[in-house]
Symmetry: C2
Subunit: 428 residues, 2 copies
């Protein structure tokens, strides 16, 4: 394949004509495809249907310590749910609080509480002139939305293939006391599918924050969401790493079963040091009468233990793997050598990140939409929705059926080619 | 019965001796009784066991508009859950947002959001020098805990038999712009079981708040929690009343099914004007991926509609009614005429409020604890846990079995008598 940039104007115009015809043909089909969000497919949801049967009107609904899960009581989670989610996020059950159905809500609460009550005795952030968060980019739009909502200034930190640029992270965290946090999706990151290297995690654990209330917001959303049994990324467990490095309180770990059982009807949790946990519980006693214990019980009775959950995740992988491969093969076969885009090959998680030629992402997403394919809005993977390069596009292959996905990829690469040709022509 | 205060020192000492012997006898039984919280009994929980069967692995889990309740999507509640809870709280489905499992959490969120983002565009409360809430007393300790947690100054407003002292409410709300809210349990109030009179509700609706961001925090926790079919309190619907009086945005209504289905595994909601709802949704899109739709579906499929829920509440009433009557008869038979305490006879809700002689409440609760009966801590029904009269005690008759309750009441009146005699002797 000759790279587009090395082709003549005439060659490009000829290629464009062919592609445009194909585009119109697909557009004519009136498709309705969605690759915008990391949403499990129906086949994946069906994997957990057994969970709808584990509790019924004849079931003993008491948890392991005899508490009737139907009634009030138990603020931080029933013991067996704590154990299951502690195993899932690789901490001790003493270092976990079980929440409701959404880890996003836990993260929101964590930031909201810091605004009004500080962190473990620090000044409430709403009383400070400026609060900053570091945001590895590209990243997760809903993280950025939380910090933006609270008026927290966001600073872009470029991602490398081993995680965030740690030189920059250290420079900010260790010197600027207004830097209070960093958003991380450390394993199979959203959207690139990068897992932080051992060195990256250890450099995190060894930070010397200028702010006592600096915390790492470690959203381990895809901790057990591998695509392959034989090729798995490994991530150093950060809570222990921080403890070993003398920073026991520096991290909040978030996880949920949203993409294990049912999105919206799962169980979320926070993992943290005893000191952080105690501080959070002070809020919880005011905030809630406790979260849904029957749903916690439902999860434990269905998965039984972490091994059961791991086996369950293999079934998810069997459904997701061919979808990822369809997209990756499509990109490789259709765009390989053209030098109009780059991407990584994740071994887990929910996304593939595509970097188009600078200035092309918005146009590609718009073009796809024109023919009925909804992508995550270009820019969404950056704070304030502003990708300075207008280059990054997040691809979410999970929701469409394999057949739909094949068409979606065909259409996507077509849009990439068409927009790139225009861009190159413009600059010739 | 001769009132204690009219008896001679000798008569009182003699009475005390008899009571003390009886007290020691009961104490010797090593009882473990709990009348501290409004917790449904096992018999009540059993009423909703059918809810554990309505969803199973063969059930269609799509809601009325075809959305798969297992997956992401739908921020503010599935339509049929909105209808059910809107009917429950007597508003239009357009004026409701379905939340998670705890109305306390909804109230907490509402205050927390006001702290950081104000109300519909007003200055965030954390930026103000002082924020005040009016607190009808006696009231609900968890309300007061929320406002205390956020450093909001609480002002006691005495309750009358028709609701809060509205002269005082009007004086504060209409003149002091730092008064931002009032906590109300308008029907079968916690703890007195008082229902606000028509005049009280209309005076609420006609307030002319000095603060644009003043809201009535209308916690209609016991809206359908009647004890009698033939003797029911009626409450004017406040959202409409406020609208009619030109104050459409002045109220937030809270409700939940915690004491209808399962505490901790119910569904909560907020009812408010379109303007308030729109403002709240701005937060929700940041805060959560939406609440548990499967649990919403479970509730709708079980109750079917509001009539089903009303019929269900009659079964709760059949269990609760004799318990209330046991307590009320015990109080009347044992304390009637002694002039050492007063109480009302609620027609619904979860509590009976007992007013002991001033300075006696703490001692009565301590005495009861000595013999194995846990009551709500004295003072809990007042802001900051401080009952200026040390007089009010909240009685929660729902949780014990009828047999336990009979013993608990016997013990309670004994403690009231003993402590009252000491008090009267002290002052003689």
């Amino acid at each position: 394949m000759t790279a587009y940039k090395d082709r003549s104007r005439e060659e490009l115009l000829q290629e464009k004509e062919l592609l445009e015809a194909k585009f119109q043909e697909i557009k004519g089909k009136g498709l309705k495809l969605d690759m915008s969000r990391g949403k499990p497919s129906e086949a994946q949801l069906n994997l957990s249907m057994g969970m709808m049967d584990v509790l019924n009107s004849t079931t003993d609904l008491r948890c392991s310590v005899g508490v009737d899960c139907r009634n009030y009581g138990v603020l931080d989670g029933i013991p067996e749910a704590k154990e299951l989610l502690a195993d899932m996020t690789e901490v001790s059950p003493d270092n976990i609080i079980i929440y409701g159905n959404s880890s996003l809500n836990v993260m929101y609460d964590t930031v909201a509480r810091s605004m009004t009550h500080g962190v473990c005795g620090s000044t409430p952030w709403c009383k400070l002139d400026e609060v900053k968060f570091l945001c590895p980019v590209p990243g997760y739009d809903r993280h950025f939305a939380i910090t933006e909502y609270f008026g927290i200034k966001m600073i872009n930190i470029p991602m490398t293939e081993s995680g965030p640029d740690m030189d920059l992270v250290e420079q900010y965290v260790n010197n600027d006391p207004s830097v209070k946090g960093i958003w991380c999706v450390p394993k199979y990151s959203n959207p690139q599918g990068i897992t932080y290297s051992d060195e990256t995690v250890l450099r995190f654990a060894r930070l010397k924050p200028a702010a006592e209330d600096f915390r790492i917001y470690w959203d381990n959303a895809y901790g057990i969401h591998h695509l392959y049994e034989d090729k798995q990324d490994n991530l150093i467990e950060i809570l222990m790493a921080c403890k070993q490095e003398g920073n026991p309180d520096m991290v909040f770990k978030f996880c949920s079963t949203s993409k294990v059982s049912f999105p919206g009807s799962g169980v979320a949790a926070i993992g943290a040091s005893k000191r952080n946990i105690d501080f959070i519980k002070q809020q919880m006693t005011i905030q809630t009468i406790g979260h849904d214990k029957l749903n916690q019980l439902r999860h434990v009775r269905f998965f039984k233990d972490i091994h059961g959950m791991v086996l369950h995740m293999r079934k998810h992988a069997d459904i997701l793997r061919p979808k990822f491969e369809t997209v990756l093969n499509g990109l490789k076969n259709e765009l390989g050598g053209l030098e109009i885009g780059s991407w990584l090959e994740p071994r887990g998680g929910y996304f593939i990140s595509f970097d188009a030629l600078p200035g092309c992402a918005k146009a590609i997403v718009a073009k796809a939409k024109e023919a009925g394919l909804v992508m995550t809005p270009a820019g969404a993977t950056f704070p304030y929705g502003k990708d300075p390069q207008d280059s990054n596009i997040r691809i979410a292959p999970s929701y469409p059926t394999p057949e739909e996905l094949a068409v979606a990829v065909e259409l996507f690469v077509l849009c990439v080619k068409l927009v790139s040709i225009d861009k190159i022509l413009e600059e010739k």
